[in-house]
Subunit: 281 residues, 2 copies
């Protein structure tokens, strides 16, 4: 595995590989790998000739007061894990090379970026789409792979790609969960033992609401209310950011919930802001 | 020469050409070709194996009340001229294929886009950078060629390309002028006979101010004042939009004008909004 930090070098390497007919896949990450990341790498490894994983804690997607400064990092472990997964290139740019002084260009998907997580993180998705656009230009992948835990991010990136005619296919892969159901996330590291024990209830609430939908309840407000009170009863430690049931493609609320809708939640549990979602099939 | 309107077809054609080792150049235009456009094509023709010219009157770069609806068009003549210049592909997308319903992604270079023409055309450059980003993704050129008459556009596109790590080199080529000095522009078609006669004074004013700089005047406010009063005396028909002397790289005003500064003007002359500029060397 090659570790590359230089933007010009990664671009040259990837363009040469593409030129020579190899298929490229990119898995963009912020590091601190867990099985969620590794499952994306495994899927991509099967598909492509050359697997590029980027590891960059992107300051542009953190708001003031958020956890940019303390976002968990463990480069040695990440390098080891990426090698184990057969990654060809680990791209580890410095902040100053992706955002040099005077950087001033932004890519923004309007509308979608203001919903759900965008309500409390107004510039988050602009930071995501900008860095992903940069990574696509640097690595010219045929496919890029993202986790469905960040469902809103996934559909915003799909929309950007389509709107801007980017020659890359966006692949979303299922959320990987701990044995007790908690969605894997680097931010789970913020949970103390006590909170870690109750955190699976985030997903249990989602399973509950899916069950209610399957048994015939399709009134959105009613379902949201039930989920909200589930958390209030079973996870009183949590501060609810949002509990929403929306069309999974455009994130718009529907009065009558239809199959394929998404139940999505964000909760603050101690130092961790956890998100999770489930498709109501 | 091939004429392609489909986005998927141009992308496939250009990516295959690039894959096969050919060098590609793109000349983005809004059509109604004059010698300015043709000079860009000629330069690019020398450089590349495959010359793509896009012809698209981009609605996103026109503001409300501007001339989008009446922007001059002459497709037959443009096709003929492009063939004469040895263009390989003329890309003529429909508005609805570049901006389908629900389009909502924008690329914006902050700062630079608000200066000079951005003062009275606040969304103009966002429209330019967005469509140019799309065209780059569709045609994957090694080089893209722009005229220096639109100096601000040129440096904004250079900035976007650098900030977003786009794998394309931006080439600026000198303004082409009529025999009497008027900068060639499709919008010159809006000038009636009377105004066409006096329009060269736009450039004569710029030559005057360059002369004043060469003979030692380096006080910016003084130079701007002299140019402004030149137009008031010699081109009283014109409504001055701006008269500015700025750093040619970042468009910032300098108290003391240095060699390499740019004198840039925009004036409304009848139905035409004319822009022109000159480097103070």
């Amino acid at each position: 595995m090659e570790i590359i930090s230089s933007c010009s070098q990664i671009q040259q390497t990837c363009m040469q590989a593409r030129q020579s007919g190899r298929t490229l896949a990119l898995v963009p990450t912020m590091g601190y790998f867990h099985d969620g990341h590794l499952s994306l790498m495994r899927w991509a490894r099967e598909y492509c000739d050359m697997l590029v994983v980027s590891l960059f804690v992107n300051p542009a997607q953190f708001g003031p007061g958020e956890d940019y400064q303390r976002y968990p990092q463990d480069l040695d472990n990440d390098v080891h894990a990426a090698m184990e997964e057969g990654v060809d290139i680990l791209f580890t740019p410095a902040r100053s090379s992706l955002y040099p002084d005077g950087f001033s260009t932004w890519v923004e998907v309007q509308g979608l970026s203001g919903k759900l997580c965008g309500l409390t993180r107004p510039e988050h998705f602009r930071g995501v789409t900008t860095v992903v656009c940069k990574l696509f230009n640097l690595t010219c992948p045929h496919k890029a792979v993202f986790g469905q835990k960040d469902w809103q991010q996934l559909i915003i990136i799909k929309k950007m790609t389509r709107d801007l005619n980017m020659p890359v296919e966006i692949v979303g892969r299922p959320t990987v969960r701990e044995d007790d159901g908690l969605a894997m996330s680097s931010r789970n590291a913020y949970l103390d033992q006590e909170l870690r024990k109750v955190a699976p209830r985030v997903y249990q609430g989602l399973l509950m609401v899916r069950g209610r939908f399957e048994s015939g309840q399709d009134d959105r407000l009613e379902l949201e209310l039930e989920l909200r009170s589930y958390y209030q009863r079973n996870l009183p430690q949590a501060e609810i950011d949002y509990v929403q049931i929306v069309d999974s493609n455009n994130l718009e609320p529907q009065d009558r919930v239809k199959p394929g809708a998404l139940a999505a939640v964000a909760l603050k549990l101690g130092q961790a802001r956890l998100i999770d979602n489930i498709l109501l099939d």
